[in-house]
Symmetry: C2
Subunit: 346 residues, 2 copies
């Protein structure tokens, strides 16, 4: 039975802030007859991530350095992590009705190619959306970045930027579970309240209300910062380095403040880097697939026991996808931005 | 017998390029009667190092972050690593005539305070000057920075800036001994020839002749850079990061191009740092004293067997010290800058 597949693609490359008019919604017929090794998935929840903007640019150094950052061409299918339901399978280990997580796309149905990893999801006691957020790549990014890159010790002082975002909100919670002191920054009072309330951060502030980020961090960290989990880059990274303690570690995870402005760059003081023996390290979740089982077991357990919260911000329908994505750069989302493009039943 | 001690001090703090007129030569009488734990040393070779300029500034973030970077005040005694001869000892383990290496000063005689480490030098088969250069802090910096921070693997591609300088010239030689491919940059044809000839670098270039450092590095590293040993900061660091391979490592050792210009800062592309999973790490030799024995034994052996060269640039007399120091920032020195302030005999 042929289905109609709605998908969202780029009209043209995007430099600077994206807007809804950069995208278009199209339809294409889909014959649910998978080839050998292919799987046809009805998409349920898609993860909406800021790094995709870098892939939409006319030029970024990253396009040629890492397959995960490959440039997205106009009209091309846009891949995205998500959760879906198998509607037809050309793989022995998967059958119709199975729920899977993996690289899907900005569309209602994805033909998953042979070789692309799909993980079977046994979603009995946790909401399905969790597998696209806290138990998906955002979760693994937070887990690997915090534990492997930052190497936290109990009692250390941790600063997280974009702390109410998909990765930041989890880093802060892992840090609290590890006995660290955690301060986050975000872009609104509502988000700051959420960090201090629901997510249990020790403190939080609205960076838009701080004229001088260096002094702000000196106020929030009178004893200095040991770990900075960087999701924003630019001036915030500079201010964090200026306030770091000797042997401080910076996990360079994202640079959302730089994505929309090619001229914006972090220039941390190298005298700080040298004399405080600071390490700055870029990383990607895809290098940590060997940690997935450990991450998934530990995090599911935290969720079940109520020791962690999955903060999700869900839009409904493939039509809402452009706005969901564009909103990331306006700070519209509170927590992990997801789009529910389909329902499990039916 | 009272001696006259000539010493060099600052007239005032120095911002920007230093000049000879920023320093003054004074004399003070010295009674060679050490207190308990004190040692009076006649200085022979002093190590002249660019990082001291950072200490002479009116303000630098490093002044308060690390005792090794403590600000130098006008008229104050200026400490410096060097080699000297004990003329009077208040320590049981040292006696008159012993040759020692440690923190001395910009003067003819230094009263070494109790607790300050002095290492006995058994200089039978290697020139005494080696203990202030290749076997001194420059050597330990190169050894620890290259082996511990850069973690080289055979066949990796290594780029060294300020490659004919005290640390760079050694890093390049360690890299060759480790089976790496090494390219250095320096500021004159003479230095470039020396790197390719005497020091055995695979290639070298004069950065002053390159309008575009990024393209220059692309030419010298068509297969990309795995390790960048950074002595200069600013645009060279940016260009190196742009040309790095996945999992590249940057040892942030010095930033000579930034010392003389507070507005000059490296702003490497964070998209490169993230997608190529680059690590940038600042370090100081003083954290590696536990490696001193291993470093010293291995390096002495390389020198004896002619597998390493100690490139030294020696000025004579305490009066030459200001010019020796100022010359570092004009690129006058070729190799380790030393001042011979006294003779072993007499």
């Amino acid at each position: 039975m042929e289905v109609v597949n709605k998908y969202v693609s780029l009209k043209h490359h995007v430099d600077g802030y994206p807007s809804e008019s950069d995208f278009e919604l199209s339809t294409t017929p889909l014959q649910p007859a998978p080839g050998s090794g292919e799987v046809i998935v009805k998409n349920l929840y898609l993860s909406i991530d800021p790094y995709q903007l870098d892939r939409m640019k006319r030029y970024s150094s990253s396009h040629t350095t890492c397959p995960a950052a490959a440039q997205i061409e106009p009209e091309q299918r846009i891949d995205a992590y998500g959760v879906g339901k198998v509607v037809a399978s050309g793989r022995a280990e998967l059958e119709e009705g199975d729920v899977v997580a993996g690289l899907l796309g900005w569309e209602q149905y994805t033909v998953v190619r042979p070789g692309t990893v799909l993980m079977k999801v046994d979603a009995k006691d946790l909401p399905l959306s969790c597998y696209a957020s806290v138990l998906g790549t955002s979760g693994l990014t937070a887990f690997a970045g915090f534990y492997d890159v930052c190497k936290p010790k109990k009692g250390e002082k941790v600063f997280v930027s974009a702390a109410s975002g998909s990765v930041g909100s989890l880093v802060g919670q892992y840090a609290k579970l590890s006995g660290c002191y955690v301060v986050g920054c975000a872009g609104s009072k509502q988000k700051v309240d959420l960090l201090k309330g629901k997510l249990g951060f020790d403190d939080a502030f609205n960076y838009k209300e701080e004229a001088d980020l260096k002094s702000a961090l000196r106020r929030y960290f009178p004893e200095g910062i040991d770990i900075y989990f960087d999701n924003v880059g630019a001036a915030m990274l500079e201010a964090a380095v200026a306030n770091m303690n000797p042997f401080g570690r910076v996990a360079v995870c994202g640079a959302i403040s730089e994505y929309t402005n090619a001229g914006k760059r972090a220039a941390p003081d190298l005298m700080d880097v040298i004399y405080k023996r600071i390490t700055l390290r870029g990383f990607l979740a895809l290098d940590y697939l060997h940690l997935h089982e450990q991450f998934s077991a530990a995090t599911s357990d935290h969720l079940r026991r109520g020791r962690m919260t999955s903060l999700e911000d869900v839009s409904v329908g493939i039509e809402s996808l452009p706005t969901a994505f564009v909103g990331l750069f306006r700070g519209d989302n509170v927590g992990k931005k997801l789009v529910r493009v389909g329902e499990l039943e039916g």
